[in-house]
Amino acid sequence: MKYDWSILIEKFPIFLPAAFETLKITAAAIIVGLVIGLLTSMCRISKIKLIYYPATFYVNLVRGTPILLQLFIVYYGLTDIVNLSAYPSAIIAFGLHNGAYISEIFRGAIKSIDRGQFEAARSIGMSKFRAMYRIILPQALKRAVPPLGNQFIIATKDSSLASAVTVKELLLKSQQMGSSTFRFMEYFLIAGIYYFIMTSILGFFVHKLEKRLAVSDR
C-alpha cells in the first residue's frame, strides 16, 4: 500500500482542535502536578512521621505502577463513587502521576541547596518557615527548572494515553481518522508532528527560562 503524503498537508488543520485538547489536558495535569508535587515534597522533607510516611507511600505507589493503570483506576474506579467523565478523570490521573515525579524533582532541588543557606537565614532572624519560602525555595525552584521542563515534555506525550478513556485528543483523533480511511500511518504522522512541535516549543521556552535564571550564577 502506497502512502498518500498529500494527506499530511490537507488534513493537518483538522487536528488543531485535538491539539488544543492535548494542551488543555497537559496544562491542567501540570498545574495539578505542581501543586501536589510542591506540597508532597514538603511532606517528604518533614521530620514529622505522620506527614512523611503517607507522602512517601503515595510517591512510591505512583512511581511503582504504570500510568495507564492509574488512569483506568481513576476512570473506572472513581466513576463508581462519583459521576466523573473521561476528561476530569484524565486530569486527576495525570495530575497525581505528575505530582509524584514533580515532588521528587522539588525534593532533590531542596536537598541540593547548601544547609548553610538555611542557617544563614536563621541567623539573620528568620523563622524556619520564612527561611524555607524566602531563601531555600527560590533557589530550589531555579535548580528544578531543567528537570521540570523534562517532566512537562513527558507529561505532554503521556497525555496521549487519555485516548484510552475516550478523551478526544491527538492520538484518539488520529486513530479515528485512520480507522475511517485505513490511512493510519499518515494520520499518526500528523499527530507525531503536532507532538513534536508542542514539545519543541516547550523545550525552547524552558531553555530560555533556564538562561534567564542563570544570571545570578554566572
Partner: protein, 357 residues
Amino acid sequence: MSIEITSISKTFESFKALSDINLKINTGELVALLGPSGSGKTTLLRIIAGLETADSGSIMFDGEDNTGKSTQDRKVGFVFQHYALFKHMTVFENIAFGLKVRPSKLRPSKEVIEKKVNELLSLVKMEELAKRYPSQLSGGQRQRIALARALAVEPRVLLLDEPFGALDAKVRKDLRRWLRKLHDEYPITSVFVTHDQEEALDVADRIVILNQGKIEQMGTPEEVYDNPTNPFVYNFLGNVNLFHGRVHNGIIELGSLKLDSPEHSEAVDRKIISYIRPHDIEISLEQYENEFVAAEVIFIRAVGPIVNLEMKRIDSGEYIEAEISKDIYKKLALKERQTVFVKPKDFKVFIPEDYMI
C-alpha cells in the same frame, strides 16, 4: 554584651565534641577559638549561635539565659566559612534582607534600609558592587559582604566560623588586618573560630585554645605564646624543638647539654622534655663548656629576612630547627655539612608523667 558559657557539653553519637566548657567573654572583646580539626571549636560557636543545641550547660548573654532560645531570637550575626550568601540576590539585597524580613512593627522604612545598607557597603569598601550577584565576586569580596550582612541586623554578638579559611594567604592577611581595624571602630563582642595560630595571635584580644573538646588554655596572645601551660599548647602555637633528657635537683641534662632549672629543684632523676622555639636557639662556631651542644647543619633555607636551619645533634641524633636573622647567618658564614654548637636561649620544661591523660 558579655557571653557566659557554663558547663557546656555536646556529644554526637559516640563522639564527645565538647566536655564541660566554661568560658566568659567580656563586652566588646574579640576572642579567638583556636584548635586543631575536631577540637570542638565550631561546635562551641554553633551552640553560642543556637544552630546546635548543647546536651547540658547554659549560655548567658548579659546575664540573660539564652540556652533554649532559637537562633532568630538570640540576635547574633553569623559569618560562615563559605560565606553562605543568598545566590539569588544581589549584594545590596543580601545585606538588606535581614532588615526587610523583620515583622512590620520592627521593620525600618525603605529609605532607612537603603541608608543602612549603603553605610555598611562603604564600611566594607564595596559601594560599587551593590548590584552584583555573589557569583560575580571574589572570595575576599564575598567574605566582606557576608560580614556586612551579619552586621546589618545589628547583632548583639558577632560569630565568625573560620572567616578566612577559604581564602589565599595574601587575601587572608589583608582581611585579618581589616577585621582587626573594623573591630576597633565597631567594638561588638565577637568570637571567631580558626585553626591558624598566626591568625589568632594577630587578630584576637584573647585566645581560647581547645583540644578534644576541652579548653587547654586561655589568655591574651602574649600569655598563651610566652607561657604555654602544657605541651599541647606549646606544640600547637608554632614550631617547636623537643629535647629529651632528665632533671635532677634543678639541673637539666639534655645529652651533653647541662642547664639550670631552679623550678625543678625538688625533682629527683625524672624524665623531661624540653620545648624550645626555633628562634630561641643560639648558634656558635665554638663550644663553651657544657652550655652548647654540637650539631651538624643538614639544610639551609635562606629566603627572606629569616634563615631557617635544620640541624642534627651529634650526641643524640635529634633534629633541631633554628631561625636566625640574615645578618647572623652571613656573619657565621654557615654551610651545609658544617659542625656548629647550639644552645637554647629560652626553653620550657615539662615532665611527661604530669601531662599523661
